[in-house]
């Protein structure tokens, strides 16, 4: 998990050709067909394995059953709420944890990139902490916050915080020294330097970090919701598990996948836009 934390910095600096090279540059239509093919193969295989009876339905429900359950969950409450309501409360927690991580992590990273001494102070501790998987915080989250809102947020925060810090720090560190020297020569004070040079200069890297951070935050969610009492997709899945209702667990997994994918698409779009604007950097 820790390895995926730092964004590809050269990509973050706006080197656009890299994308084409990596994919062997197929067209949009071909890409679409390939993706559809992947989905078809996946569901086909699942269907065949589930139908063949090799694996009991209790262990692996068929795609059709899961789809029906998924649809059912959208209007019939399970564990107190419909699937959308569970998702909404999950997304609320996600947003709070993620926003908190970004609000604390990005400024800290920028300051670390700017003040070498702060980097020296914070980095050793930070480097240790960031390898602790978010789920490892569950016992303490429960101990400190009980069943309150703080517990899940702490866990999401612990997943989302490191990429915010690391990428902001790198972004600040990698700004052209000439730009900083020019700004100093033009009389920029500390605040202006921070707001008008450091932040915009590091922005492509910051946004790349936020995207990774959002992914990790969303991943940490299920772990976070293991200790939540009454709502959320993770809670729905735990309840499904204790009822031995595997289709419900799978519906939760699918919902997590879809929402995670949508979050990533949105942040990718934001990242691409910023990179395009920074093309000359």
């Amino acid at each position: 998990m820790g390895g995926a934390v730092a964004a590809d910095v050269t990509a973050a600096q706006g080197a656009r050709p890299a994308r084409g090279r990596r994919r062997g540059a197929p067209g949009v239509v071909e890409l679409g067909l390939l993706s559809l093919g992947g989905f078809a193969a996946f569901f086909g295989l699942w269907f065949v394995v589930a139908r063949s009876g090799v694996v009991p339905a209790r262990f692996l429900p068929a795609p059709g059953v899961v789809a029906a359950t998924f649809f059912h969950l959208t209007h019939d409450p399970f564990a107190g709420y419909t699937l959308q309501q569970h998702l909404l409360s999950s997304i609320g927690r996600f947003l709070m944890g993620f926003a908190l991580a970004a609000a604390a992590g990005v400024p800290l990273g920028l300051l670390m990139g700017w003040f070498r001494w702060l980097d020296d102070v914070v980095s050793p501790v930070f480097e240790g902490f960031r390898f602790i998987a978010p789920i490892a915080w569950v016992p303490f989250a429960a101990l400190w916050f009980g069943t309150g809102i703080g517990g899940p947020i702490l866990i999401i925060f612990s997943g989302a915080f490191p990429p915010c810090v690391i990428n902001a720090q790198r972004g600040a560190r990698l700004i052209e020294p000439h730009l900083i020297e020019a700004a100093r020569s033009l009389g920029a004070g500390h605040c202006r330097m921070f707001a008008e040079v450091l932040v915009p200069g590091a922005l492509p890297s910051i946004v790349a970090g936020l995207r990774i951070s959002a992914g990790l935050a969303w991943q940490s969610l299920v772990g976070a919701e293991l200790i939540v009492v009454s709502s959320g997709v993770g809670y729905l899945m735990v309840q499904g598990q204790s009822n031995l209702a595997t289709p419900i667990v799978m519906s939760g997994m699918i919902a997590i996948g879809i929402v995670g994918f949508l979050i990533d698409v949105a942040l990718r779009a934001a990242e691409a836009r910023i990179r395009r604007g920074w093309a000359g950097a």
């Binding site: 020297e181 020569s185 202006r192 200069g201």
Partner: protein
Amino acid sequence: MSQISFQSVSRVFRRGSEEILAVADVSLEVADREFVAIVGPSGCGKTTLLRMAAGLDFPSSGSVLVGAREVAEPGPDRAVVFQQFALFPWKTVRENIGFGLKCRGVPAAQRNAAVDRYIEMMGLQGHENAYPHQLSGGMQQRVAIARSYALEPEVLLMDEPFGALDAQTRIEMQEELIRLARVNPRTVLFITHAVEEAVYLADRVAVMTRRPGRLAEIIDVAPVRRAEAWEERPIEEVMDLGSFTHLRTRIWKMLRDEREAKAEAPRVTPLQRRKAGP
């Protein structure tokens, strides 16, 4: 009174356990509103001298004064024009030019008027809202020069400002700078490795030796320039004048002698005082 004053300036860089003497005992005075160019082989420490005047680097011994004050930090009284332009890529032409004034706290209306003036002076009309990467190299350097001029600094420090431009643009920019210097005379310290550029632009040309950089000679161009009214003539005509080619060839020869001296000299140039470590 001299505007920029290098007083027995030396600069030692440390690389690992090695000490490298980049600038050795340079004394140079640049008078008020004088244009001095420093030429020298690459790595001779000419840029280091400029950075010390800018407050971006500091002498290991000796002192650098601008006005009457010892340079302690960068400041808007000494605008720097960098070879790499150093424009803020996330700011438009207008915002780039106005940045220094904004830092100074000039109100928006007044700032806009000043920015408009320099946009016009540098022929940047129509590009006000472009971002730097949308402009050619020559245009970008015009923006950078406008950004420096907008602060109306006493001293302009130009570090190979035309080094990254193509030959044609470079000549245009040189003419532009002469025109600008006439309308708006400033004290200029100009670093270049192009001898013709130095002779064409400068009142005096300081020639530096290879590392460790010392001042080899200072050549006074101003009397010839004034006598022959170079400023009134197009650049190609000036560069054809006997007086111009004479000065240029003299400096070329000096630099070539330097290069040959380097070829003969043993390869160990760095100082090795500190070589014996623990």
